[in-house]
């Protein structure tokens, strides 16, 4: 979810978001990604709008203010968790040597 929110600082439609996730090394199945986007939108974390100007109609998603706030909190939580895990793994490596 964090990866999805990170990519939605700028407007993206589902398929382009999936491509961005694949390129970032976080592939996600379409069948999981699209319902997730709708759920985040229903929770008020994303805003969306249809664009039909060029090509087939596409729904573009973007972070809402609440989504931006949540992204900041999730990033902090993730960094803290990653730092803790890193510390544990380093201690474990030193102990096993």
């Amino acid at each position: 979810m964090l990866a999805v929110l990170c990519h939605l600082r700028e407007p993206q439609y589902g398929y382009s978001l999936r491509q961005a996730l694949v390129e970032g090394g976080m592939p996600m199945e379409e069948g999981t990604l699209y319902p997730l986007l709708r759920r985040l939108e229903s929770q008020g974390l994303l805003a969306s709008e249809w664009q039909v100007s060029d090509g087939p109609p596409r729904r573009y998603y973007q972070l809402s203010p609440a989504g931006r706030q949540l992204l900041i909190e999730l990033m902090q939580a993730w960094r803290s968790l990653a730092a803790s895990m890193d510390k544990i793994l380093k201690e474990n490596e030193n102990g096993s040597e």
Binding site: G14, Y15, E30, G31, P35, R38, W50, R59
Partner: protein, 302 residues
């Protein structure tokens, strides 16, 4: 086959399983997604026709029901996960008990079809009632009308509540007085009421007095617990034996001949006693279960 028509048919099938308000929105988005997925595949794989590719891709994507389910918010559970097993067991046990009570009539000559379309199928009211009660309870929890907070029942589990002794004394005195004075009460009643409650002599002389002995035993046990101010392993086991004796006595009362001379009164009182038997049996099961779920320190290895 035209791949766009295959996708269109698939999306229409998904939409049928979605809430009406969200159908069009999701359908439009899903159609766009599938079209883009297909164009990606046709670009990388030219061995198969587009129609075959579309069918293969949609089969990988999941059945329309599965795809629709991904879009639907999970509903609140009717029976909480931790209660599923006991719910199923209680539902089955309730039906089996009713069948066990009504089936002897079939062995006594009642046609099976008459039993099945009467009390046989009628016993299914119980799981239906349980499901409705669970649904109501689940809805109340979901709406936030009913929340449970845990609070410790007693800090000392072995401590004896003196109010139980007073209740036991009251039950013992009332029960014994009722049994002892029944013949007098009946003699005092005018006809025809006296005939309704005339007790069977065999019951009055042999089976009824045992209840007073059991009440006395239970009262003595509770008095001993009160004197020690706590339950011990021995007193708990003795209480369980008392309950078992009650079950045996009630079974004897129900099966060992008439209690009242009048058949209608006898049947009515025995149905009440059957209910009492059920309550005593359930209370025993609960007590055994609670004792089994206590934390025990494992024995130290020899």
């Amino acid at each position: 086959m035209d791949p766009s028509k295959i996708i269109e048919a698939y999306v229409a099938d998904v939409m049928r399983h979605l809430p009406r308000a969200a159908r069009n929105d999701i359908g439009l988005e899903l159609r766009g997604l599938l079209a883009e997925m297909l164009s990606e595949r046709t670009g990388s794989d030219s061995c198969e026709s587009e129609g075959e590719l579309a069918i293969g891709m949609l089969r990988e994507f999941g059945t329309p029901e599965e795809t629709a389910a991904r879009y639907i918010e999970p509903a609140f559970p009717i029976v909480p996960t931790h209660q599923t097993k006991s719910f199923a067991l209680l539902a089955i046990a309730g039906v089996l008990v009713q069948w066990a009570v009504s089936l002897p009539a079939v062995f006594a000559g009642q046609p099976v079809s008459e039993w099945w379309f009467g009390k046989g199928l009628g016993a299914l009211w119980w799981p239906g009632f349980m499901a409705l009660a669970a649904l109501a309870s689940s809805w109340l929890r979901h709406k936030g009308y009913y929340t449970r907070t845990w609070s410790p029942p007693r800090v000392d589990h072995e401590h004896f509540d003196r109010r139980i002794l007073i209740l036991a004394l009251f039950a013992f005195a009332t029960g014994t007085a009722v049994i002892a004075s029944l013949p007098l009460i009946i003699a005092w009643l005018p006809e025809p009421q006296a005939g309704f409650f005339e007790l069977d002599q065999g019951f009055l002389l042999f089976r009824a007095p045992l209840a007073s002995i059991l009440w006395l035993g239970q009262f003595g046990l509770l008095y001993a617990v009160q004197a020690a101010d706590r339950w011990t392993g021995v007193t708990r086991r003795l209480a369980l034996i008392c309950d078992l004796l009650w079950v045996a006595l009630l079974v004897w009362w129900l099966t060992g001949g008439p209690i009242f001379r009048l058949e209608a009164t006898d049947g009515f009182v025995k149905s009440i006693l059957g209910f009492v038997l059920l309550v005593v049996g359930l209370s025993m099961m609960v007590r055994v279960y609670r004792q089994a779920t206590r934390i025990r320190v494992p024995a130290a290895p020899a």
